[in-house]
Amino acid sequence: MPEATGTSVPAFEAIGLTRSYRLDGGVLVDALRGVSLRIGQGEFAAIVGPSGSGKSTLMHLLGCLDRPTSGTLRVNGVDVATLDDARLADLRNRTIGFVFQSFHLLARTSALDNVALPLVYRGVSRAGRRERAKAALEAVGLGHRLTHRPSQMSGGEQQRVAIARALVGDPRVLLADEPTGNLDTRNGEEVMGLLERLNEGGVAVVLVTHDADVAARARRQIHVRDGRIERDT
């Protein structure tokens, strides 16, 4: 299937996505019960909803970290069901950037090497990786923290390193699961500003949040409850 790159093709197109987990006792938990949605190129959307409603589950499906139990998901027009695990890894590497609530940086690794990590799996040379990682860190205002390790940086700085890592590979979309959840207001503010700037640069941003103020800054709010989309504004 040829990869469609035209702006007319949505970044994500989900049709009736479900995801159920089988617990150890054999009980089925339906985390998602049929979600259909389209997220266009360059959109800025917030996914909101109560705890346990399935936001993270949806995010993992969109990010191709997980496969739906049923339903169809197209990322940039490509049906992910047609891709094997290796191709899916490649899709994640090239088109999606992830930002996590708890940063997920490698502890004993410098900011520069943390940011360069996605490029390792793309076969970029060491010199090329460092150059691009440096540029990405400068873009998030951390040009002066290249050799710092995560433990030597504030939470806000760590999250900005994570954002630099998410965008070092020039992704089409950025998925952020509660990116400000572990940050104080000022640092959260800074991170949100960064995401907005990236979005203005043409990257679609989808973020999960509990924070109404944060959600309000997105142009679109997708309300999830009990594994279904309740409201989409």
């Binding site: 970290l65 997980d66 695990d85 290796a86 994640r92 590497n93 997920h104 799996y121």
Partner: protein, 394 residues
């Protein structure tokens, strides 16, 4: 992902847990070390014995009564000098046949007494065996025919009895009988635990009278070339069997001795190496164990790498390389200490050790293979980790 990158990550991972890596390696080190040392000792022993046998001379056939072999009961000799003459006729060239009568006796000069192996032989001994003289002369036909009381001393006997004095022409006493020294042999070392430098040679006829028995212990035949050995051996055995129907005679050649001893020592070396190999295996289990711990500890990291685009095989490669690195570094250290240990053993003890290049290559190869074999299970577990579950782990 490139191998260089995986290697860098593996080195980093081992460096971070330095003590743990060292302890894990220790199992491999001990395994490789013992393999290298034991193979070196086994090979050294084999070489030493082969050198001894080859040192006897070339193309020798030893004829003894009865069956030769491990566990065979010693046979009372029924051979005498007439049989030697008979074998000489069979062989055709009388100078290529010699004889041995053995006995252990103390040899005395003044107050100094040395226990020596008396070997009665004849003038043909030097034509069959490789036994260079340091001084003096060999036995002659006349010595044998007239039962002269003359002796040729092994170098050690000579040194003990006479010290720095030239023994030629001097007297020694054996069982109350005086003998004149006519020669001293060069130092030749020992064969099969027979210290040949502690031998004293005398005419076979004189020896028989001294011992009081007309028997001989064996006949030695020298073949003219390697191709002659086997036909000659068969001819001699057949001739003796024809002369004494119903009795067995054995004629062993150096090649047979070399073969038998080589096989025995080779098996011994193999068994030792296998026992040492078991400890290498145990070391491998340790590697597997610690790798599993590492995978569990780094679950989050693995999940993250996968989220960022690592394929299963990238993760598999990363952990396999880590395991192989662990065992090959251990292997190299084991080889170095093993070689050092073997050299040390050789230097400070009489145990010979011989380091062969193949045992080193093999040890390295096996330690790498141990890494792959015992690394596969943990690496596959890592490669199969679900990124979602891995990222949720805290």
């Amino acid at each position: 992902m490139r191998t260089a990158e995986a290697l860098r990550m593996a080195v980093e991972a081992l460096r971070v847990n330095r003590l743990r890596s060292m302890l894990t390696m220790l199992g491999v080190i001990i395994g490789v070390l013992s393999v290298v040392i034991l193979v070196a000792i086994g090979t050294g022993a084999k070489n030493a014995v082969e050198k001894e046998i080859a040192g006897l001379g070339s193309n020798i056939i030893l004829v003894v009564p009865g069956q030769v072999g491990l566990g065979a009961a010693p046979t009372q000799s029924r051979l005498d000098l007439s049989d030697v003459a008979y074998v000489r006729r069979v062989v055709g060239d009388p100078s290529k046949v010699t004889v041995a009568v053995n006995s252990g006796e103390p040899v005395r000069v003044g107050r100094v007494e040395v226990f020596a192996t008396l070997t009665g032989t004849d003038e043909n001994m030097p034509h069959v065996f490789d036994r260079p003289l340091r001084r003096g002369r060999y036995l002659t036909e006349t010595d044998v025919d007239t039962r002269r009381r003359v002796v040729i001393l092994g170098s050690e006997v000579a040194a003990k009895l006479f010290g720095d004095v030239d023994p030629i022409g001097r007297q020694v006493t054996i069982a109350g009988v005086r003998f004149r020294v006519i020669g001293v042999y060069e130092t030749v070392g020992s064969t099969f635990g027979v210290a040949r430098d502690q031998e004293v040679h005398l005419p076979v006829t004189t020896a028989q009278r001294l011992i009081g028995l007309p028997r001989i212990n064996g006949i030695a035949v020298g073949a003219s070339g390697p191709d002659e050995i086997e036909p000659l051996r068969q001819r001699v055995v057949a001739a003796l069997a024809a002369r004494y129907p119903g009795e067995t005679f054995s004629a062993v050649t150096q090649t047979q001795l070399l073969g038998t001893i080589g096989t025995v020592l080779g098996m011994l070396t193999g068994v030792l190496a296998a026992i040492a190999g078991i400890s290498l295996l145990v070391g491998g289990v340790g590697v597997s164990n610690i790798m599993l711990v590492g995978v569990r500890e780094r679950t989050k990291e693995i999940g993250l790498r996968k989220a960022l685009g690592a394929r299963g095989r990238d993760i598999l490669g990363q952990f396999l390389i880590e395991a192989v690195l662990l065992t090959t570094i251990g292997g190299v250290i084991g080889i170095l200490t093993g070689v050092g240990g073997a050299l040390l053993i050789q230097a400070v003890s009489p145990v010979p050790a011989s380091i062969t290049w193949w045992s080193i290559v093999l040890a390295f190869g096996v330690s790498a293979a141990v890494g792959v074999f015992f690394g596969v299970a943990p690496a596959r577990r890592a490669a199969r980790l679900d990124p979602v579950v891995a990222l949720r782990t805290d």
